[in-house]
Symmetry: C2
């Protein structure tokens, strides 16, 4: 059996190695356009920042063996043709035309073909985009060029166009290298994977680090003499010694499309759950292949190295007759932004509403360990569920606290189709150095249960801000202690600490709606219950408390 | 509705607060033997070590309000009788006899009664156990007494009797305080919750920190003049200025037993999944109540604050007519031992075998992030599954890497009854600062799939060590590089690096069984496949590689 794998970075080598392990008789050839094989593209931002000292580390095994052609031949028993491009697939003849560095072409026969052609950077058609010092970050050559530019300048003005995952990861790397950084994002928020109230927390953290965030801003031109000098936007100009274009990637599906293979609605190669394309002898894996969202069952495109590895294994199994299938993805994603983690899984609130669910959400900011432990760090947490079925739909987290762990717990709950009730009773590990006795995600699940069962009427801080701005007639009830109010407060509140509330109900106008809050709105919830018991009819709790207030805070 | 809650530490106050929130008409009274309410007993080791500076922090809300009687009255609308002991339950009359500090007794009527009487330390009947400076760690008074003893002595010789969770947590606290520490454990390993090959890694870490571990050692006497001076064991004597008895806890179920309530096989109070005892008006929650293991369906006793909180909520819901049930526990547990985390969930290998499963296990040591990231730390990981159903049964992890996250992922998989295949395809969050592209738990799940499908015959390092000790005739094949062997190696191996193996097959005796390994046995697995392809018939892979070798290592 002859197997050709086109693409030597992640999913391709994975499929090749696994095929070799499963089928003694297979003869596997990897075709790679570039020089490098199986390197960790996700590590490039950390190579730019200098955390990863030597680029060789990105293409080595954990014990330091470089994964070159000899390695693949000797260890994985796969032939590698690098500096070789696959230019056409002839499905009837079952051959692939390849062209080497010298321009020589040949047709290679296959029994099974694996497409792992990856993704390519979307270069926006902005005037001046061809100027020097404007980079993508698609491979090690780009990273080396960026490093050289950084080394050449002092106090570099760096502009990052696009506030998605790559944009924010590189922003941190540029910051480490001493750059003055602006992130220009065309949408009203960075990190479109997050709901707006979570993204704004990340934007604030960036700004606290001196990174300028320009949202709802469109780049109209790159100007400069030979190399970029300024970035012109519809909101003004930015000086620029260096520009990173991080405006997203798209599946590299042209070879498949030219061969008449079915392309999906996301413009990636359509595949079955065995990674088979519309031609049963051709498989597609990794960033060129379309994914299925496990919750909605709909096509999705979330190119990630973690998914690529799983798909490579599934395709190899299919080719070698081992039963397996890929269940799809949840859109789980994470990135680091200075001291913050930013993570999500499942559907965002907007995605859930668009998909027609009866959405209920909660915001639960809290320390990620018992408050008395010195290592406790604040975690902002959001859960999204369906009111009718009580099933979890999505989770988002950010802040200095441990987001990865809670989002992975949520991902597992989503995989299993769990309700918020099952999640609330999950037996998670507990000890003070690791988590509070009632973990953040369990608290959030319990808030959702209270909301679904009608015990708690939530209102988002954003909605409350709008009510204040519209000068609506309501009581915003702050039940925190005077000491807490000293530190920060919202203008225009009625202030009664929770412990005194039962005795001071007369101070609250019964004819007006009441919105109660505290630091995180646990006491706000208790206050609302006290008011309801006392006969107040319109009482809401502000989700997430003052910690998630998007408006102005008065301090001191 | 009159509700009496006996016990004011964790599950009791939780139930009381929730009842107050759910039922406007409930009149809730908390009876507490001691002075203190709702304090974080799990935080005591960190109070001893000084990480928690002020004991008030252990009994405060996150914003610093001390949870005293006034707090419970004003905020939670619950009456508190502290320094008051419940001495008898009269089920026919529905009253509880209580006795206050002055010795006055009265009978309090109840409609519903919640028992949250907790656990008590098991004090072993060892001669001399009544000597001074021998402590339990059941409450803040003990912690204060221990702190006073530590302050009084210089270079304290501390002996901890019992190597369970509390023993190891306090060992670290004593180390922080500059003590010379011995842990004396009657069983052949510390941390009985872990399988032996995992526990031994923790023992080695303790020893590297200078903590003496004496397993299979029985204390026969505490000797001293007024206060303890030495601990006499069946293996010799230990000098001792301070002894901590950490020989386990048992449910405080006497009050329930005297009232004729059903006691379960674990000697805890038998309860339904709504936390109801054999008397439908009496509930039991927290450390005095029996648990159910979710996997086996059998009675279990794992007293933890995390479970107590969930049970308190479920009992409150039941009392107030809100539908809910507690599904049981997985035996999830975690502790910190210096730089190591130690965590487990589900069944241990032994428990799984005892329960009659067709057990398959794997050991997967690997960095918890891509090896090129500076923050990558080694994590030793073990998965346990059922060969027939392919369902996950348990997971264990230790080492400097992130154990909590992976064990919680496993806990969720266990809750859902997932197979190793579902686990292997889980869409976990991925970015280099957080995890490798193929997460440790996914690698482990894939190893189990390979084993279940007969592609990999594993043998544990312990079994290989026994074979060597018995001088069995087999080839122990080390496929690591010469540079790796320089650092550490096992005596008596045949050494052929994986990359050279295909060309050097002649060097291996085909008539003998072969056991292949590398650092973590990924290359060992590939070597085994190469040998099998080449016609070798008896080839096994040593699980976990040299990193989990329990025997002697030759270094340099």
């Amino acid at each position: 059996m002859k197997v050709i794998v086109i693409g030597g970075v992640a999913a391709g080598p994975k499929a090749a190695s696994r095929i070799n392990r499963l089928c003694a008789e297979a003869e596997v050839t990897i075709i790679e356009k570039g020089e490098l094989l199986s390197y960790a593209g996700c590590g490039l931002p950390y190579y730019i920042s200098g955390q990863v000292k030597d680029s060789k580390e990105l293409m080595s095994t954990p014990v330091g063996t470089v994964r070159d052609s000899a390695f693949f031949k000797n260890v994985k028993n796969a032939n590698v043709l690098n500096h070789t491009e696959a230019t056409a697939i002839h499905r009837k003849q079952k051959t692939v035309t390849v062209k080497n560095r010298a321009g020589e072409t040949q047709d290679l026969p296959y029994d099974k073909l694996v497409l792992a052609t990856g993704a390519e950077s979307a270069v926006p058609p902005i005037p001046g985009v061809e100027l020097g010092n404007i980079y993508n970050l698609k491979d090690l050559h780009d990273a080396d060029a960026i490093k050289a530019t950084l080394a050449e300048h002092k106090a570099v003005n760096a502009v990052i166009v696009g506030g998605g995952l790559i944009g924010v990861e590189v922003a941190e790397a540029f910051h480490e290298m001493g750059c003055r950084i602006s992130i220009v994002e065309f949408l009203p928020q960075i990190l479109g994977m997050m709901d707006p109230e979570m993204a704004v927390l990340v934007e604030k953290h960036f700004e606290a680090k001196g990174v300028k965030i320009l949202t709802s801003t469109r780049v109209t031109e790159f100007a400069g003499n030979g190399r970029v000098e300024k970035v012109i936007t519809d909101q003004g100009e930015l000086p620029a010694d260096l520009v990173l274009l991080a405006t997203g990637v798209r599946p590299a599906a042209k070879l498949a499309q030219d061969a008449g293979l079915e392309i999906g609605p996301t413009r990636a190669i359509a595949v079955t759950d065995r990674m088979q394309t519309s031609d049963p002898d051709i498989y597609a894996v990794g960033d060129c292949a379309e994914k299925k969202n496990m919750i909605t069952g709909k096509a999705a495109y979330v190119p990630l190295g973690s998914t690529a590895n799983k798909e490579g294994r599934v395709a190899a199994n299919a080719i070698c007759g081992v039963e397996d299938s890929f269940p799809g993805i949840l859109g789980s994603a994470i990135c680091k932004v200075f001291e913050y983690s930013v993570a999500r899984t499942g559907l965002s609130e907007k995605e859930a509403r668009d998909a027609g669910y009866d959405v209920v959400t909660c915001l639960a900011p809290a320390p990620d360990k018992p408050h008395f432990m010195p290592g406790a760090r604040l975690l902002f947490f959001k859960l999204i569920a369906d009111r009718t079925t009580r099933k979890l739909l999505g989770a988002q987290a950010t802040g200095p606290g441990g987001a990865d762990r809670r989002i992975d717990i949520a991902a597992m709950a989503l995989t299993a189709g769990m309700t918020v009730d099952q999640l609330a009773n999950a037996d998670l590990v507990y000890a003070p150095p690791f988590s509070p006795a009632v973990d953040n995600i369990i608290t959030a699940a319990n808030i959702l249960r209270n909301k679904i069962e009608g015990r708690m009427d939530g209102i988002t801080p954003g909605e409350v801000l709008t009510m204040l701005e519209r000068r609506e007639d309501f009581t915003l009830l702050d039940v925190r202690s005077p000491a807490e109010r000293e530190q920060m407060r919202i203008d225009g509140t009625v202030d009664i600490p929770l412990g005194a509330l039962r005795g001071r109900l007369d101070e609250i106008d019964r004819s007006k709606p009441v919105v109660a809050f505290c630091k995180i709105s646990l006491r706000g919830y208790e206050a609302a219950l006290i008011l309801k018991k006392a006969g107040f009819s319109d009482v809401k709790v502000m989700d997430g408390g003052i910690l998630m207030w998007p408006g102005k805070l008065i301090k001191g």
